[in-house]
Symmetry: C2
Subunit: 214 residues, 2 copies
DNA sequence: AGATAATTTGACCGATTGGTAAACATTACA
DNA sequence: TGTAATGTTTACCAATCGGTCAAATTATCT
């Protein structure tokens, strides 16, 4: 008798951990490109190299796979913002936040696209997380930025829209990668484009905010 | 005998124009949210308020609907960039480009999401347009910006990444609308958010580029 | 009005969808 | 080694998919 997903044993088998890893990896491949509705379990099964019923042994529904994937990715995705330090130097904090976000766009483009897909569809599966934990985190960091502005360390500006602009400019290089490559052309579309982007964005944000260079 | 899509008559009927309009409007609703793969003809038919075979009388395949929709939207979508004037004042040109793009994000969010969906999927239906006409247009405008920089009217910066950053920051308010609303919360998520965004972005880009105020 | 062309629909097709049942194979553990 | 739990697969299901067809309806033109 098969009891999937550690219902009886509490502890997860070695095989369970390995297979769930493989499945989520494959699911990330497919969901990030085709979105939830556009993804079929068969596609994921093929990428994962296992049969469809075998997938459904580990995750009972397509929703369960998507849910598990979102949950896992959401935490790491917010890491850079969590690392944003109130006690740090404004210029270096913003610089390194941009750098980290850009590295994530380069190294984890599928994760970025997974979220983008979810947002485009109106976030039917994660709206609660947005209104709850995400808003709370952004509120906290926005307050830090506002304090910097009040203290005259930074130009006065709307901290929420500042955060939005950092999110959008950096994630653009993951979500719109095809367009970026197409427009830059063969010669400038190499991996150097991330360094070019980093240089440009740091210039834009730091000078744009008139951050005091100590 | 039914001859769809003006094969014989050359001229399009009044009914043809009306119905094709209704269909594309409905298709925009659905494609922009669910992407190509995630959209079904039945969904479009229901939104359009007509039977599925009736849709297929005007557009023979789902691809044909999507194609027609992309073609129509692509032109208007690039309007703001086309209006970018080499002879204008750098500051006002960039300001009004941002303003126009932000207005489009506010007034035509579905069009923005349609493209975003297409990009996330790797642009399987429009890659040629990206490498061709779009790249050509961007190359031309990038040259204008570079000339401004050379003339000292503007801070030296990578013109391509400047354009990317204007695209991403403005379209963010259409594509990630749910997230923006969720983070801003009930009180700041009203329509005023576009004016706040406009104010912030103009400040960011204009001061960031150290444009000379004549 | 009558004829002809344009439009609309219900019934239907084979393929694909998410998911299930049960037989079979493998593993872990006594 | 034996056996019970875990893991895997084949065959299958009803629902939905993109699309066709022929018949019925409506608009157009003389």
């Amino acid at each position: 008798m098969a009891i999937p997903r550690a219902a009886k044993t509490q502890r997860r088998t070695r095989i369970q951990e390995e297979k769930e890893e493989i499945i989520l990896e494959a699911a990330l491949d497919v969901f990030s490109v085709n979105g939830f509705r556009g993804t079929t379990i068969d596609q994921i099964a093929e990428v994962a190299g296992m049969s469809k019923p075998n997938l459904l042994y580990y995750f009972r529904t397509k929703e369960a796979m998507h849910r598990a994937l979102i949950d896992r990715v959401l935490f790491t995705w917010l890491e850079p913002l969590r690392a944003f330090d109130a006690n740090g130097n404004p210029e270096s904090e913003i610089r390194s936040y941009i750098r980290r976000k850009l590295e994530m766009a380069r190294d984890f483009p599928r994760e970025s696209r997974l979220f983008a897909n979810e947002m485009l569809q109106g976030a039917p599966h994660v709206e609660d997380e947005l209104r709850g934990p995400l808003k709370a985190l952004v509120d906290e960091k926005a307050e830090v930025i506002r304090a910097w502005a009040t203290a005259g360390k930074i130009t006065k500006c709307d901290p929420y829209h500042l955060i939005f602009s950092i999110w959008s400019t950096t994630q653009h290089y993951a979500d719109f990668d095809v367009q970026v490559r197409a427009v830059l052309g063969q010669e400038h579309a190499g991996e150097g484009r991330f360094e070019d982007a980093a240089r440009y964005l740091e210039q834009l944000f730091v000078d744009g905010l008139r951050i005091r260079h100590n």
